[in-house]
């Protein structure tokens, strides 16, 4: 028996050795850098272009490989803090803040100067997503502005006039009710056509002049009339007016509310409007007969657009930081930006490319001609979501959504739910700062700034712009003429 076991052990050792030696990682003669990101055909194409671009520019030869198996945020975090992170890391805004807090991201300012991917090269509004505490921890690979895509044919079919480019909540509700009434006459409830697939809660709230954190991001602000009104509107639009689907309706196609399933429902005429960004066109292009237009999300009194920034950072423990910087330089190149223009993967990170003829009027896709210009124009109203250093964004989002959904499920009234949510958020903040003396000192200082802001506002005086750290309020105060940089 022992000989059998020993033979098996030996065979496994030999197999392992063969497998290891046959791997291309071992065989490669050039340095290999791993880029942890979501994999798709656009990304594969971009890596191919990057390698060609390196050769054309005469830069050092190396290879970038995509790693999608570790693209989950928790894997990136744990691998990063354990010293085995990927060389290059794709990050959403929340991740960038979390990874920066751990210190696992390289401060790119010196490399950015050397390679020319400084902040001034890209959209200024995207800065809070990768400029954190004065450090540059990434550079945008993709920019997006959240909009509604309109199925023009469906509006025409039911005789509903297209909404204006900028519209209010009242106009949204009125048009929505008219649409669902016209579109669902005599239909089985299961075949219902909705006006929109969803509406973004943050945009609704911001449109009323309210963010989820205060001006200095020291406190959560959920227990207020605006947030409560947002919940009531959500409830009304989903369960009473039925212009937006409930979770059950959203589950219709794939049993889950994924971007792909919502796009599929949109092209099957189940929604007149789809919440998306320019990247939605990657899927929508397969349906050439779909005449598209885009509209800003409706607002109460303040037009605002939520922007997304997909940035890329460099791991501090990488052995190839210098080489990794070439990829970020590539994001500023014409090759990359024109690829983004052509594939509709995003709004190009370099603003100048969004004014080009190829961007505005792609020859092969005339059905999209209204879309491209407007998605870039919306950058005028764009601000990133808030990210407070005092609470992890994922924790905040979990608390907020749990109580919001509890209110929508009827477990609490909206007032109760938001009072509890605000208390839970602030409790979390208290716990975070009490565990970290440095964070507490920072919090205490910002709390004093907050008091100053509130006092000045109460007295009707201008607030010094530098006191405001919340990106939404920075813009809001400026445009309302409430801050010194107005």
């Amino acid at each position: 028996m022992k000989y059998v076991l020993l033979s098996i052990f030996a065979a496994l050792c030999i197999a392992t050795a063969i497998d290891h030696s046959s791997r291309s990682t071992v065989q490669s003669e050039v340095p290999i850098l791993y880029w942890v990101t979501n994999i798709n055909s656009a990304r594969v194409e971009q890596v191919k272009l990057f390698h060609e671009w390196l050769q054309v520019k005469g830069y050092p030869e190396f290879e970038v490989r995509l790693d999608s198996t570790n693209s989950d945020a928790s894997k990136k975090l744990i691998q990063g803090v354990s010293g085995v992170g990927a060389d290059i890391i794709s990050m959403a805004r929340d991740e960038a803040w979390l990874f920066h807090a751990t210190g696992m991201l390289e401060d790119l300012r010196p490399l950015a100067e050397k390679h020319g991917f400084t902040l001034d090269k890209t959209w200024a509004a995207s800065a809070p997503s990768f400029m954190i505490d004065g450090e540059q921890v990434g550079f945008p690979r993709a920019i997006s502005t959240q909009t509604y895509f309109l199925n023009v044919g469906l509006f025409e079919k039911y005789g509903i006039p297209l909404p204006p480019l900028r519209w209010t909540l009242d106009e949204f509700e009125k048009t929505g009710k008219a649409f669902v009434e016209a579109a669902n006459q005599g239909k089985d409830p299961r075949d219902r056509i909705f006006f929109a697939d969803m509406i973004n809660v943050a945009t609704l709230r911001r449109g009323m002049g309210r963010a989820v954190m205060n001006e200095t991001m020291t406190r959560g602000t959920l227990d207020n009339p605006e947030t409560i009104r947002v919940i009531k509107l959500m409830d009304k639009w989903t369960t009473k007016d039925r212009i937006i689907p409930t979770q059950a309706d959203l589950d219709f196609f794939a049993g889950s509310d994924t971007n792909t399933s919502r796009v599929q429902l949109f092209v099957r005429n189940r929604y007149a409007m789809l919440t998306g960004a320019r990247y939605s066109l990657v899927q929508l292009r397969d349906h050439a007969d779909l005449q598209l237009e885009v509209r800003m999300l409706p607002y109460e009194s303040y037009p605002t657009v939520l922007m997304g920034t997909g940035s890329v950072g460099i791991y501090k423990n990488s052995k190839h930081k210098e080489l990794a910087a070439y990829l970020l330089e590539f994001f500023t190149s014409e090759t990359y930006n024109m690829n983004v223009v052509q594939t509709a993967d995003a709004i190009p990170p370099i603003p100048a490319y969004s004014a080009r003829e190829e961007y505005l009027y792609p020859a092969d896709y005339p059905q999209e001609w209204q879309v491209h210009g407007e998605t870039a124009n919306l950058m005028e109203f764009a601000t990133t979501p808030e990210a407070s250093p005092f609470i992890i964004p994922t924790s905040f989002n979990r608390i907020e959504s749990e109580y919001r959904l509890a209110a929508l499920a009827g477990i609490y009234t909206p007032e109760e739910a938001m009072a509890r949510a605000e208390k839970a958020v602030n409790r979390e903040i208290e716990q975070n700062i009490s565990a970290d003396p440095k964070l507490k000192a920072r919090h205490d200082k910002l709390l004093k700034d907050q008091e100053t802001i509130e006092q000045l506002r109460a007295e009707g005086k201008l607030v010094p712009a530098h006191l405001i750290t919340n990106p939404f309020y920075q813009r809001y105060y400026r445009e309302r003429g409430w801050s010194t940089d107005a």
């Binding site: 696992m104 589950d251 219709f252 499920a409």
Partner: protein
């Protein structure tokens, strides 16, 4: 041994080396992946380790903070919500154990000759045809359903004819060796409110209920509600009768009777809370208290057959008690639905549940899935082994005494299975307290509104999403303490031996 000295000769050394060589990898693995992490996690529970501040890129050192993590945990409202979710899911354990036992009893039935075999298959075929007829009458799509049922059940019956019990044992055990995540995704598809087969089957049934409810006078709802409430009370009555019988027969100690009686009040608390003090709640709670009162008065006046120590009988009756409580709660829930039925039917929008997206349905949906997985699990295999080992003479003796099948079960099978049941209960409780992570991760992400977040998923959120490893370790050790406590209770009062 030579002159008081032990000589270690070469064969002994060789055997020792061989033994250690074989054991070495296992010991090394156990030390590296179990013992050391276990000790480390215990130490971590008393530290402020947060990966945001304590990692290879930060100079800040990890500090011992005493009981702070535990204090924080016990004052964290989310912890209590997730603990109550975990305990709610554990309500399914007695039902699952009973399901495993029933499956094991069925799968160990000897088929006495071809006539009995044929009879069983005829009964199964009859049930199949009646089910099919019901579905057809209530408007289910004929073609798809017929094809599905004929192929599925026909195949199973045919396989049973040739492979006998082995085929069915394999089928029942199938959920256990199917990959967990794949199963969860399958159930997620089945629970799809619009395209899933569960709601597809329920839709015509719900439509029929709606039509019937609309046609009947509104008083029909309360009558149905009262009927369901009476059934719930009937279950309570049966339970108290069984407790009283055990007391009289000297199978139940005073302490055990007291604890079981207190536990039996749980449906009163929950019914009162669910029905918010309505007339039905008053009726049910009063009925249950009266039943308990009858038990106390009747049996209190009666001396037990033989004196027993206080804790005796707890373990053998806690499982039937738990099952009865779950049964009562199901009928209380049905009573609530029945009362609301006329109003729901009047709206004309009655629909099958939105299983995983509805706050109130998400937990039962997960429990149904867990029940399905648990019935055909290792528990069933253990029960099959246990039943097979029961000496046939006991059954023969019982038969000679004139015991009917029910009496044979209660007086022979159930006591003989005590050690197996004890093991299953201990393991199920441990798994129940630790469970729920995979389902929450794969199916609901802990939602909606935290309804399916269990303590194990909470540990994942705190440890790997928020990076608070010290706090997550504290939650893990609190969980361990709970598991330990419940296990000790089980060991103290459990029926570990056949003759207990």
């Amino acid at each position: 041994m030579e002159h008081g000295r032990m000589t270690i000769n070469r064969p002994i050394i060789r055997r020792l080396v061989t033994g250690l060589t074989f054991l070495g990898p296992s010991i090394a693995g156990f030390l590296a992946f179990t013992v050391i992490p276990l000790v480390l996690s215990f130490v971590l529970a008393f530290t402020n380790w947060d990966v945001r501040r304590h990692n290879m890129f930060c100079t800040e050192s990890i500090e011992f903070i005493g009981w702070d993590n535990f204090e924080r945990m016990f004052t964290h409202p989310a912890f209590w919500q997730y603990l109550s979710n975990t305990l709610f899911f554990m309500l399914g354990i007695p039902v699952a154990i009973i399901g495993s036992l029933v499956a094991a009893l069925l799968l160990t039935k000897e088929l006495n000759g071809p006539s009995a075999l044929r009879r069983i298959h005829f009964i199964a075929m009859g049930v199949l045809l009646i089910s099919l007829a019901v579905l057809l009458l209530t408007g289910f799509d004929f073609g798809n359903m017929l094809l599905l049922i004929v192929l599925l059940f026909g195949g199973i019956l045919l396989a049973g004819l040739f492979g006998k019990a082995t085929v069915y044992r394999t089928m029942f055990y199938a959920p256990h060796f199917t990959a967990g995540v794949a199963t969860f995704l399958l159930w997620k598809k089945m629970y799809n409110p619009h395209t899933g087969p569960i709601n597809a089957a329920l839709r015509p049934v719900v439509s029929t209920i709606q039509e019937v409810s609309q046609a009947l006078p509104p008083i029909f709802g309360p009558i149905l509600g009262i009927t369901a409430g009476m059934i719930a009370l009937g279950i309570g009555g049966f339970l108290y009768r069984r407790l009283g019988q055990a007391w009289s027969d000297g199978e139940l100690g005073k302490g055990a009777l007291l604890i079981l009686s207190v536990i039996s009040l749980l449906p009163i608390v929950l019914a009162w809370r669910w029905m918010e003090g309505s007339w039905l709640a008053i009726g049910f709670c009063a009925g249950q208290l009266v039943l308990l009162g009858v038990l106390v008065i009747r049996r209190g006046l009666q001396k037990p057959f033989r004196p027993v120590s206080a804790g005796v009988g707890f373990a053998s009756l806690v499982l039937p008690l738990s099952g009865a409580i779950v049964g009562q709660l199901i009928f209380v829930g049905l009573a609530m639905v029945a009362i609301a039925l006329p109003a729901m039917a009047a709206t004309g929008e009655m629909a099958p549940p939105d299983w995983l997206a509805d706050y109130y349905w998400a937990k039962p949906a997960i429990m149904i899935m867990a029940f399905w997985a648990a019935v055909g699990s290792n528990n069933m295999i253990l029960y099959i082994a246990g039943i097979t080992n029961i000496p046939q003479e006991l059954y023969e003796a019982a038969e000679i005494d004139g015991a009917n099948p029910w009496a044979r079960f209660w007086n022979v099978t159930w006591p003989q299975l005590a050690p197996v049941t004890f093991f299953i209960v201990v393991m199920s409780v441990i798994h129940g307290l630790q469970g729920g992570f995979e389902m929450a991760r794969a199916m609901t992400q802990g939602g909606p509104a935290g309804a399916t977040t269990t303590l194990s998923y909470f540990v994942f959120i705190e440890g790997f999403e928020s990076g608070r490893l010290g706090y997550a370790s504290a939650v893990v050790w609190a969980l361990f303490a709970m598991v330990m406590f419940v296990t000790l209770i089980n060991f103290k009062f459990g029926n570990r031996n056949v003759n207990d």
